[in-house]
Each structure stands twice: as C-alpha cells, then as structure tokens.
Symmetry: C2
DNA sequence: TTGACATATCGGGAATTATCGATATAATAA
DNA sequence: TTATTATATCGATAATTCCCGATATGTCAA
C-alpha cells in the first residue's frame, strides 16, 4: 500500500456523503441488506447497495468510492459483475494515529 | 467549546498550508523566533511570525487562521496589537479519537 | 453473438476554495 | 491628534469540488 497523504485523506473525508459511506461500511450488516451469497463482511458492499442508500446517482457514488480508494481508506474487490468495497481499517487507524501523534 | 463538526475539521485540514501551520504550532520554540517578552508557549504565536514562515500574504495567513479557529483546532488571544494563536490540543485529540473509535 | 446489468468514466454547470491586493479596524506611540 | 504597526475583512479571479446525465466498459446469461 502506498503511504497515506494526509492532505489527500482529509480531502476525501471533508465531504458528508463520503464520511457517511465510511461509517456505513464500518458495520455493513447493520446498514445493508444481504447481497446474494457473498459474505458482506469478507469482501464488502457492492456499489449498487451503497448507491441505494446514498441519495445520489450511481455516477456520483462510484466517483466518491474512487476518491476514498485513492485516499487509501477503502479497497475494492471485483467478483463477477460486482465490485465490493471494504474499509481499510489499518489505514483508518493510521490516520487517527497521525493526528494523535504527529499533527 | 462548541462541538467539532468532523466535516468542517477535515475541510480545515485538507490544505497543505493549514496543516503546516498546525504542525509549526505544535512546537513553537522549534519553529519561531522569540517574540518580545510574551511567552510563546503560554499564549501562542502571533500572525506576523506565521506569515513570515508561510510563503503567503498576511491576508491569506489571517484567513487560514480563521478557518482553523472556526474548526476549533486553534484559538486566539489578543494582547495589545498582537493576536496570538495556539493549538487546542484537546480538540485535536478529540478528532483523532473520533476517527479511531467512531468513524 | 446479443442483451442485460454493474460499474466506471467523460463532460459540464453550479458552488466552493485558494489566494491575492486593497482597505478597514484596533491598539499603541509620538 | 496623527502616524505607525498588527490584524481582519472585502472584493475579485483562478482553480477545485460537487454532482449530475450520458456514455463507455466489463461480465455474465442465453
């Protein structure tokens, strides 16, 4: 994984909708319905489910997920037609730690 | 103190120069020359000193300090003609904690 | 292959941010 | 009072971000 750029991470976090997505992904079972047989916890949540909850278009959702991914906060796994997004807990803790110790 | 709005805090942090200022203010003695008799550690650093280090105008510096202040990350103390800015360590830890536990 | 669906990307208009110079305000000094 | 210095605010332009609809791409099913 590439080193987190604090500025880029903060830019990614400085939007209500993206923050929302990250919070939902923290506990997928609590926020998303079951999706086929794939384990929600293992691979994450697919774009359609996130789009459904977020009150925005598929296009916007996809772009927001890209922003979060480029910031290193989530990562994607493609399985068949679906792309599942999941939080990178280490990266999130790393940013907390950066603020706590280095900022 | 008012409750920190995560989004507003992250917006404040999503700029290289403002991040820089916060880092400098972490250890004022290491980054700023002594200023008159006022204790750097006690009240903070005045706008002119920050402007001098930042490669930007006084206007921009002042506005960035406002942004950081509105986000709750620093606070100002006016003494005579000078306004001294100092980090709010609690607020900074609070944001680290928000990311670590709630985000 | 063709069709259908999931996701990504492109192009754009509106809103916000970055940054400046000019000017206003506040406090002290003369 | 007036002049000087420190900081804040105003007005503006360029750059960036927000968010959309349209379209492209990738994958499976028939």
């Amino acid at each position: 994984m590439k080193p987190l750029e604090p500025t880029e991470v903060f830019k990614a976090l400085s939007n209500e909708a993206r923050l929302q997505i990250l919070e939902w992904l923290k506990d997928p079972q609590a926020h998303f319905g079951p999706q086929g047989g794939v384990e929600l916890i293992e691979v994450g949540v697919c774009v359609s489910q996130i789009t459904a909850k977020l009150n925005m278009t598929q296009s916007t959702t996809s772009q927001y997920l890209s922003v979060l991914q480029r910031a290193g906060l989530i990562h994607a796994t493609r399985i068949g037609k679906w792309t599942y997004y999941k939080r990178d807990e280490e990266a999130i803790q790393a940013i907390a730690s950066y603020i706590q110790k280095d900022l």
